[in-house]
Symmetry: C2
DNA sequence: CGAAAATTTGACATGACTCAACTGGAGTGG
DNA sequence: CCACTCCAGTTGAGTCATGTCAAATTTTCG
């Protein structure tokens, strides 16, 4: 539970009471590789903090292809907020890409924190705002950059993820097929050898 | 200023003190068609509430093409949150598509409200969360649906915007060229005539 | 070690883009 | 009220980025 306290220290740090309130409500859980913490059709019940490991959240299209919306590794949050808030069946999956450890906060407990300690409204506001900014950049890139540029950018922005994730997953995140990413990578290394 | 009070009533309604605090700080401004309230390179200074009219926020790529990220019509907010928060030059433009009236809140005033009235943390958290959900759906669509499907979906989801905006703007929002949207529309009406 | 997944490669297909020309309103000024 | 310009929209021909499918090869992990 040290992780989560340190996490909030990056925003408005918590006092004793707040630390107790949040740590006593978060439930630790180990998740195996390929295990789901949310499946399409289920209602998302938790806001999940990743202590260790890595997850992807994705949707599946008519022809069965997966499209990764976000990755979440250590010290990050993941949840289908739409489903959590509106208590509607999710259209998404959240699946562990690596063996992972998480801390989960149920909707009820999250509400409890919000109503009793306004600081959580603040901290989660800022957390979501940062995620919003990221997503907006991503959408702009999807519209305005080629697959090559998006890949370069991914390598710069997430060097950590780039080395630890299979290219299949990265391709899906970039909105291209894994075959095409393979070709992109191929041309890329050619260029770097003959500058 | 009635609009903004009614707007917050959809979340946690404001009390007297909060209403005073916010209405005394928001500045009304008329904006002509094609006028900018944010230009690339500037630091975004305001959180803007649209009372009347309509705006687009867009980025421009290397070859000069515009890519619409969001529209904001009556009773909606618009701002480059990334630039506002981090006080970094924006990569985006916000431009009036129609003659408009807005209420603007400066970063300083917004901070004042956050620190003195936690309810604003709450309300803006919820507002941003809703925008996040929307953006996430949009990204998923961009990855998993054809231009035809995205257009159909836009018509359903924003019938209001669909009739009032020029197709050029809608095409940019969908991530396609206006020429291609024209072809999509053409085929679409053919189908509807021969069911 | 062995099965399952990831990666690469090539031939071919296609959705969406580019460019250029044309059409038809919507303003605007005389 | 006409003539003129100016955009938004349309259309067509040709092109390009990326997808599809299939097969061969390598890597991963249980």
């Amino acid at each position: 539970m040290n992780n989560i306290v340190a996490h909030f220290d990056k925003y408005l740090p918590l006092n004793e009471a707040e630390i107790n309130a949040v740590t006593s409500r978060m439930v630790e859980r180990k998740v195996k590789r390929k295990q789901y913490i949310l499946q399409e059709g289920d209602i998302c019940k938790y806001f999940t903090y990743v202590v260790e490991g890595c997850f992807k959240m994705y949707g599946v299209d008519n022809s069965g292809a997966e499209h990764n919306l976000v990755f979440a590794a250590e010290d990050d949050w993941i949840s289908d907020i739409g489903s959590l808030h509106k208590e509607k069946p999710s259209k998404l999956f959240i699946e562990a890409i690596e063996p992972s450890v998480v801390l989960q906060l149920s909707k009820g407990d999250l509400w409890y924190l919000y109503t009793n300690f306004p600081k959580f409204d603040r901290n989660f506001r800022v957390i979501i705002e940062d995620k919003y900014i990221e997503l907006q950049n991503r959408l702009l890139q999807a519209f305005s950059s080629s697959a090559h540029e998006r890949y370069e950018n991914f390598l710069e922005q997430y060097p950590n993820l780039a080395t630890r994730l299979p290219n299949t997953q990265i391709a899906s995140y970039l909105g291209i097929t894994s075959e095409f990413l393979s070709k992109v990578r191929n041309e890329r290394t050619k260029k770097h050898l003959h500058p």
